[in-house]
């Protein structure tokens, strides 16, 4: 198992290097630079700005010096926010987004996992359709729609919860977490249901049932682990997606998270910020995909045995 993990971590290095290289050149080909604005600056000013940020050096030299800084953990200064370093912006935004993502994932797992398991126990009955339909509403409601709707109902008409903020007013974390989590709940419910059905039809479960074990024991002890494998395979990319996708939720609820920085950096052509967040995200994606692979392996008895034998 450890061998597998360390191997994967080793493989991460070329992955991240490729991501950096592709992104580095990609952003520079994209039309519009960081200093283009509605009131265009003169050629002299633009040249001075580029000199300030060393954008006047040959591209390849910029690339190598970026890698050099990166090796020291320095992601460079932000172009959009003069006086702020990319490290600082990520450090400010990531904890918020991670917290939001975690709550959203918990919401998704609770709603989706529960709906999926309940539905799989009695497929094609009301016990299947009702929870699944509820869970699926989340996917028809993209966050740009669900967020404002929740705010309208719970923030304004009922006046139960704050309409914006993060950690400023008690209870202001509830609506954003639900908004972000709802879309994933549907996926988890569907994948969970399918996975459970797959497992429940396996011979060993039939045997367990034949032995007269109670339903809940069959589910908890024997099927849950196998049935949720597709869900776990989905969780890795889902978490990465949560962070990138939190932009919309962060904007609706005025949350000072990384998602806003990430998307705005792309809009602003803030080269160092795009690169910095991309590098950071790619490390996270690699880690979470690894984590979800390890979890899936651990939950799959046969694969686990294989890891053990290594």
């Amino acid at each position: 198992m450890w061998r597998f993990i360390s191997l994967r971590l080793l493989q991460a290095i070329p992955v991240i290097l490729v991501v950096i290289t592709v992104t580095f050149f990609l952003v520079r080909i994209a039309p519009g630079g960081p200093f283009d604005s509605e009131k265009p600056v003169t050629r002299e000013v633009k040249a001075a700005l580029e000199a300030q940020y060393k954008l006047d050096l040959p591209l390849f030299q910029q690339y190598t010096s970026y890698l050099g800084d990166l090796a020291h953990g320095n992601l460079g200064p932000s172009f959009k926010y003069p006086g702020r370093s990319v490290n600082e912006l990520i450090a400010a935004g990531f904890p918020v987004t991670a917290e939001l993502g975690l709550y959203a994932l918990l919401v998704a797992l609770c709603i989706g996992g529960l709906a999926g398991v309940i539905a799989a126990l009695k497929p094609n009955t009301a016990q299947d359709y009702i929870p699944m339909s509820l869970a699926m509403i989340g996917i028809c409601m993209p966050s740009f729609l669900l967020g404002p709707l929740l705010v309208l109902v719970f923030g304004i008409y009922l006046d139960w919860l704050p309409v914006s903020g993060w950690g400023d007013i008690p209870g202001d974390k509830i609506l954003p977490s639900i908004t972000l989590g709802a879309g994933y709940a549907a996926y988890i419910a569907r994948l969970g249901r399918a996975g459970m059905l797959e497992v429940l039809s396996q011979d060993y479960i039939r045997t367990a049932r034949a032995k007269g074990l109670p339903q809940w024991q069959v589910v908890l002890k024997h099927s849950l682990r196998g049935g949720l494998i597709p869900v776990v395979a989905f969780l890795g990319p889902a978490f990465a997606g949560l962070i990138a996708g939190s932009f919309v939720v962060e904007t609706i609820f005025q949350i000072p998270g990384l998602g806003r920085f990430y998307v705005q950096a792309a809009f602003n052509r803030d080269y160092t910020m795009i690169l910095g967040t991309t590098v950071f995200l790619s490390v996270l994606i690699v880690l979470f995909n690894l984590l979800s692979d390890v979890l899936a392996a651990w939950m799959n008895p046969r694969l686990r045995a294989q890891f053990g034998s290594h």
Binding site: P123, L197, A244, I274, N289
Partner: protein
């Protein structure tokens, strides 16, 4: 390798009785049949829209503006006084096309990629899956902006761009399934019987992994329809006066308090599509599940 595998899947469709059996079972599932009928209906409406739409989709009546449903406009009108029913019908053409084609692209690449990686394993698997990791990490928005600038606006590009992102998760799920199936007795038995890898993949691994794949696909379609709205925002998608359900929903969301019908009806169209897809997907999954069917 890719095209070969695709051909194999095609052959599998014609060759085995699995699919015939499945169809027989599917017909007994009323909800699935209902879903199928509704989907076919939507597609037929979309195809016939230019002839059956009640109004021109461009003609505006600015003085009328947004009006609630009435006898003249069954679903009301938008802020330009355009008939909403007509807008939804035309929007459906785009959304259904994008949804199905882009998902098909994603499905094809994802399933093939995942199945191969999961089956072959070892170093090839590592390289293939790390490539997936790389694509996950690249800044998608910049990529899209570049596409629009280099190639201009183009429907085909839209399909490719969406397919290119959506296949990644598909590949991961497929790989996970194949990897776990590979360890099962029947596969090991098949290998020891000397079955060729391609036959094995298409005969045993793909059909057995179909459950989660079908489910994920049915979820991807509505997701893709909404993604199209975002790409239109970046300038890659379609342009006014053309429209799509995703765009209608995002316009409707802006004025959900003042003109709720502008949100409700396009939202209903998308939701109905999603539900029929899922009923059909579940039906298909159950119908294809050989062991489950014996109960």
């Amino acid at each position: 390798m890719t095209t070969q595998t695709i051909n194999d899947i095609d052959q599998a469709e014609q060759g085995t009785s699995l699919w015939k059996d499945a169809w027989r079972r599917l017909r007994k599932n009323h909800l699935a049949v209902f879903g199928l009928i509704l989907l076919v209906l939507f597609i037929v409406i979309a195809l016939l829209t230019p002839w059956i739409a009640p109004y021109s989709y461009q003609a505006q009546d600015l003085e009328l503006g947004a009006s609630p449903p009435s006898a003249a406009h069954w679903l009301g009108t938008d802020i330009f006084g355009r008939d909403l029913l007509t807008q939804i019908m035309y929007g459906g053409r785009i959304s259904l096309a994008v949804g199905f084609v882009a998902t098909a692209v994603a499905l094809l690449i994802g399933v093939t990629w995942g199945a191969i990686a999961g089956y072959v394993g070892g170093r090839a698997d590592a390289v293939m899956m790390r490539l997936v990791d790389i694509l996950y990490a690249l800044p998608f928005m910049i990529f899209i902006v570049l596409l629009t600038v280099v190639f201009g606006r183009n429907m085909l590009l839209l399909f490719l761009a969406i397919g290119a992102v959506e296949w990644l998760t598909m590949a991961r799920i497929m790989r996970g399934q194949v990897q776990s199936l590979r360890q099962q007795e029947f596969v090991e038995a098949a290998i020891s019987l000397g079955l060729s890898p391609t036959t094995l993949i298409r005969r045993h691994l793909v059909p057995n992994a179909l459950g989660p794949i079908i489910v994920y696909t049915t979820l991807t379609i509505p997701n893709v329809m909404l993604l199209e709205a975002f790409l239109s925002f970046l300038g890659l998608g379609i342009q006014p006066p053309q429209t799509s359900w995703g765009l209608l929903i995002s316009y409707g969301a802006e004025s959900m308090e003042e003109f709720p019908w502008l949100l409700i009806f396009p939202g209903l169209a998308l939701t109905l599509t999603l539900f029929s897809l899922n009923f059909l997907g579940d039906g298909l999954r159950d119908a294809l599940d050989v062991r489950g069917a014996k109960d």
